[in-house]
């Protein structure tokens, strides 16, 4: 039997509210009282307002821009076009993916709602009036929307600015509308597996274009001080340090004189990683006019012109044995990146982490190719709530495994179990060359199947299928995904050549409170709470007196920002290691004060005590004070540390999700009866926050799978760029979520934590599709294209001859 734990120790530990505690969020006090500080809340003396003139057509030459009427409007100060930016060489800018993008359309527009001119005025109403009054004449050009058509030999050349350039950022361009081709894996080995395998399956899996749609749109307040030569910009950014570097490179202002501040951010989801023309225009306007300039995008602009996600046409193929053991995988993708390749992708991975497309399975031979293509759509290819395309990868492998199971008549749970990478195989190197750090998939699957009574569900389903009068079709979706997050190791990931490390600087004050400054920035993830919990546990300081600051480049150490669930895997590790540096120094101080050797001390929650003598100790509070007035001889005074953490590897959280749907045979409406999500994100820092993020990710996944789409007409008009048309679920349609977990720590992360926020999004989308298709599986349906709206599903009911 274990010895009873001293209640005093438990009390001290609880008072710290450290790792593992569902500590209520520190940041909430300001939000629930209306005291958040978002970019649109920033006001500066003399501030002007900017609005953007956008193209109503998708592809055209600009014949003429007439500013004269706009300039007559009271309150309008200036109208800027590409011609005004040219002398400053600011009419084009580099993108975070190695392409260039027009800041304001330079003689030609490439997509509907492209930025053509900006109006700066004394208030937002006058700026809007000005936009209406700017006259632009367009000479329309043929529009190319289909990426396959874009690659036809006689397709119109979309990017005339690249004429003659056969080299792209990632290798040879073999067509004027071709951006890159990225291949991974071993094609010969994969082909050989397909040549000899007894069973093969193949399917075109289209992942439609969607938009992350955070509730706060993008915007900024730029303020240039011509006397000091300093530029301060408040901006809705998930990566303020990267923005500072780009702004400095673009403007020529030394980086030390550029201050970027990301204040409270109203949701990001990948949409706020990139650098948009509006930001640059507001900065230019402030430099030119010498006054602060605010630009806040409206919802239509946000949906139409800021980074969309997905738009992947994936041909998936699996080769297998007759009893369902996978032998080989091939995936061939055409990726529609729109008019400019303007996503934020690591230089070495233009197709992102597509290499997780072998999923949770031990696949001996695999090959994948992604071809990026220009079309007349808004630029991007953003990683919406995922690490550089993990969502697409998981979608294709999980769909293909379902299709294989169906072909072989094997249950979808069984085929997954049969192919799982086994616990003893970790660390596991995938056929794409990635080393999965840790995983234990089978217990997760077993736990989910038991929790929902999977066998019972299948019996119920069989009974319903046998009853021709049953008004509903029942479907069961099952997905066992592995994620790759925590981008990332500098040897494998960089943005514009800057390695994807992250950083933390901690200072302990003489009175024992602490402040930590970070390279990341929260958009709702609760960093102020969870980061403090890490320090509390590492240093024995109560969470409530630990202050976390992020998002201000003038005070925070350089970091690559918050996206791709990288805050805990990368910045969380930086916090732990910075804390450990302080801990080591604190031990020296304690030894000095207690006049013993460092090795004679035990660490206990919040104090160093002399081994075997509970009465002789120095608490962190004592040590903090001593660090500032009686540091040991030869040791610098003070108690602070900074750590730049370059992770040795990614982390690989995983999960098993199960969904039960009932489809109304009369209307095609799909009711989600149950959704059970088990996640394993390694060590759990704040379970309450983890659960909250899972709920949110599942809801966004539900939106993508069941209703979101960005349809275009033949002329390239986006049909649905308001919240009236673009589906964001309300509390009424959103299903109720059941969550569960297992814990498989990461062996290389200082805390064993892996990151979680994108898992529910990545994992749930194929689960919904799996469930909807499963409802039709007995009718021979293999795959259905998202979103599974009532109309789409009703069409399938008609086609399958089972509509009521």
């Amino acid at each position: 039997m274990n010895a009873p734990i001293d209640p005093k120790l438990l009390e001290r530990s609880a008072a710290l509210q450290g790792l593992g505690d569902s500590r209520l969020r520190k940041e909430d006090a300001r939000f629930i009282q209306g005291k958040g500080n978002y970019v649109d809340d920033i006001k500066m003396p003399g501030m002007l307002h900017m609005a953007i003139v956008r193209s109503p057509v998708a592809h055209a030459r600009i014949k003429r821009i007439d500013k004269s009427e706009a300039l007559k409007i009271p309150g309008v100060i200036a109208v800027l076009t590409a011609e005004d930016l040219k002398p400053l060489k600011l009419h084009w800018m580099p993108t975070l993916a190695g392409d260039v993008q027009a800041v304001l359309a330079d003689e030609k527009v490439h997509f509907q709602m492209q930025e053509v001119a900006v109006v700066v005025a004394e208030d937002r109403y006058a700026a809007a009036d000005g936009v209406e009054a700017v006259i632009v004449e367009y000479d329309e050009l043929p529009v190319v929307l289909d990426p396959f058509a874009a690659l036809e030999p006689d397709a119109p050349v979309l990017r005339e600015d690249l004429a003659g350039k056969t080299e792209g950022a990632h290798g040879k361009r073999d067509h004027p509308n071709h951006i890159f081709t990225w291949e991974a894996g071993d094609k010969a080995a994969a082909d050989a597996a397909f040549d000899t395998a007894p069973v093969t399956v193949k399917e075109r899996i289209f992942y439609p274009r969607v938009h992350p749609c955070p509730l706060e749109t993008c915007g900024c307040v730029a303020s240039f001080d011509p006397i000091r030569g300093e530029l301060t910009t408040y901006i809705t950014s998930q990566a303020p340090h990267v923005v500072r570097t780009v702004v400095s490179l673009l403007s020529g202002i030394p980086e030390s004189k550029v201050r970027i501040v990301s204040p409270d951010i109203g949701g990001g989801f990948g949409n706020k990683v990139g650098i948009y023309p509006g930001y640059v225009c507001a900065i230019v306007a402030s430099i030119v006019l010498g006054k602060p300039v605010k630009w806040i995008e409206d919802r239509i602009e946000n949906i139409s012109s800021t980074a969309f996600a997905r738009d992947y046409h994936m041909d998936g193929e699996i080769a297998a044995t007759a009893d369902g053991k996978i032998l080989g995988l091939r995936v061939n993708v055409i990726a529609d990146h729109g008019a400019f390749d303007a996503c934020a992708d690591p230089t070495k991975y233009p197709a992102g982490m597509f290499h997780i497309c072998s999923g949770s399975y031990d696949i001996p031979a695999a090959w994948c190719s992604v071809k990026g293509v220009y079309t007349n759509k808004a630029p991007g290819g953003v990683s919406y709530r995922c690490s550089f395309r993990v969502t697409e990868a998981v979608y294709v492998i999980e769909r293909m495994v379902d299709i294989l199971a169906q072909k072989l008549g094997i249950d979808k749970a069984e085929i997954r179990a049969k192919n799982f990478i086994r616990k003893e195989q970790f660390p596991y190197t995938s056929a794409f060359g990635f080393e999965y750090d840790s995983g234990d998939y089978q217990p997760a699957l077993d736990k989910v199947l038991a929790a929902v009574d999977y066998k019972g569900l299948r019996v119920e389903q069989a009974a319903k299928r046998a009853d021709p009068n049953c008004p509903t079709l029942m479907g069961i979706g099952l997905v066992a995904f592995t994620e790759v997050v925590g981008a990332g190791p500098s040897k494998m990931c960089d943005i514009l050549g800057v390695g994807m490390f992250d950083s933390c600087e901690i200072r302990i004050h003489p009175t024992g409170s602490a402040i930590a400054r970070m390279g990341t920035i929260s958009q709702g993830q609760g960093h102020q709470t969870t980061y403090a919990q890490i320090i509390a546990t590492e240093l024995g300081i109560p969470s409530e007196i630990i202050q976390i600051e992020e998002g201000d480049t003038s005070t925070a150490p350089y970091g690559l920002g918050t996206y791709g669930s990288r805050s805990t895997p990368v910045a969380g590790a930086a916090i732990a290691l910075a804390s450990r540096k302080i801990h080591a120094k604190a031990r020296k101080i304690a030894a000095h004060l207690l006049e013993v050797g460092e090795n004679d001390l035990d660490w206990e929650i919040d104090r160093f005590k002399v081994k075997g003598d509970d009465t002789r100790f120095k608490s962190m509070k004592d040590i903090a004070w001593a660090a500032y007035h009686q540091a040991p001889p030869g040791l610098e005074p003070g108690l602070e540390a900074v750590h730049y953490y370059d992770p040795p590897n990614f982390t690989f959280p995983f999960g098993v999700y199960l969904c039960v749907v009932d489809i109304d045979r009369g209307t095609g409406e799909t009711k989600v009866r149950r959704f059970y999500a088990l996640d394993d994100c390694g060590t759990r820092i704040n379970p309450m926050i983890i659960e909250g993020q899972i709920h949110g990710g599942l809801t966004e996944g539900y939106a993508v799978a069941m209703g979101q789409q960005m349809p275009f007409d033949a002329q390239g008009n986006l049909l649905g760029n308001t919240l009236m048309d673009y589906f964001l679920p309300t509390a009424v349609e959103t299903p109720k979520w059941e969550t569960d977990f297992t814990v498989t720590p990461s062996p290389h992360h200082p805390l064993g934590a892996k990151g979680v926020a994108e898992s529910p999004h990545v994992g749930s989308i194929p689960t919904f599709t799996s469930a909807v298709v499963d409802a039709f599986a007995h009718l021979g349906v293999k795959h259905m294209v998202m979103p599974h709206s009532a109309y789409r599903v009703w069409q399938q009911l008609k086609e399958s001859g089972v509509a009521l």
């Binding site: 209520l24 909430d28 993830q525 909250g692």
Partner: protein
């Protein structure tokens, strides 16, 4: 365009202001009254981030003209707490983790505040319908629903104690 004088009470404070007739209530609150709690998410009445209480009803202030509020009483999130005392809905959102980025929160709180007066003892489904005009992208609503139910219980308890 000439300005028009309006008299309006905002969070219990009487104001007389000259506004352009086209000024939206949300802009009036944010720019003229310097109350930045209510947010602008869509400008089409869909997201509810700008929800405030107008003469005892929830309204979306992004599609309401300030001149329509002449003689009215407006309550925003800044007026919800009574001094240092949080309102039960604010406490509920904090205790039940009913927010993440916080952008929809002021609108959600104002809607929940009014909804619980319309329906003091709601079921979970009634809460979901009651906040159906307010969008949230972070929480998946589950904890918001719990927060509103928490507030309902707390308000009823307070009422019982007072009776």
């Amino acid at each position: 365009m000439g300005k028009q004088i309006i008299n309006v009470s905002v969070n219990g404070k009487r104001l007389e202001k000259a506004v352009e007739p086209r000024t939206l209530l949300i802009h009036f609150l944010r720019e003229e009254c310097h109350l930045t709690g209510a947010h602008i998410g869509c400008e089409t009445s869909h997201c509810g981030a700008c929800t405030v209480d107008l003469d005892g009803e929830s309204v979306k202030s992004c599609t309401h003209l300030a001149v329509q509020c002449d003689g009215s009483e407006v309550l925003t999130v800044e007026g919800l707490a009574k001094g240092p005392l949080l309102h039960a809905v604010q406490e509920g959102f904090y205790k039940e983790h009913g927010l993440q980025c916080g952008f929809c929160t002021p609108g959600m709180l104002m809607r929940s505040y009014r909804f619980l007066q319309e329906n003091p003892n709601p079921s979970e489904d009634e809460v979901r319908a009651g906040i159906g005009g307010n969008l949230c992208r972070c929480t998946g609503y589950q904890n918001i629903v719990k927060a509103v139910l928490y507030a309902a219980a707390k308000l009823q308890q307070t009422e019982r104690a007072a009776a």
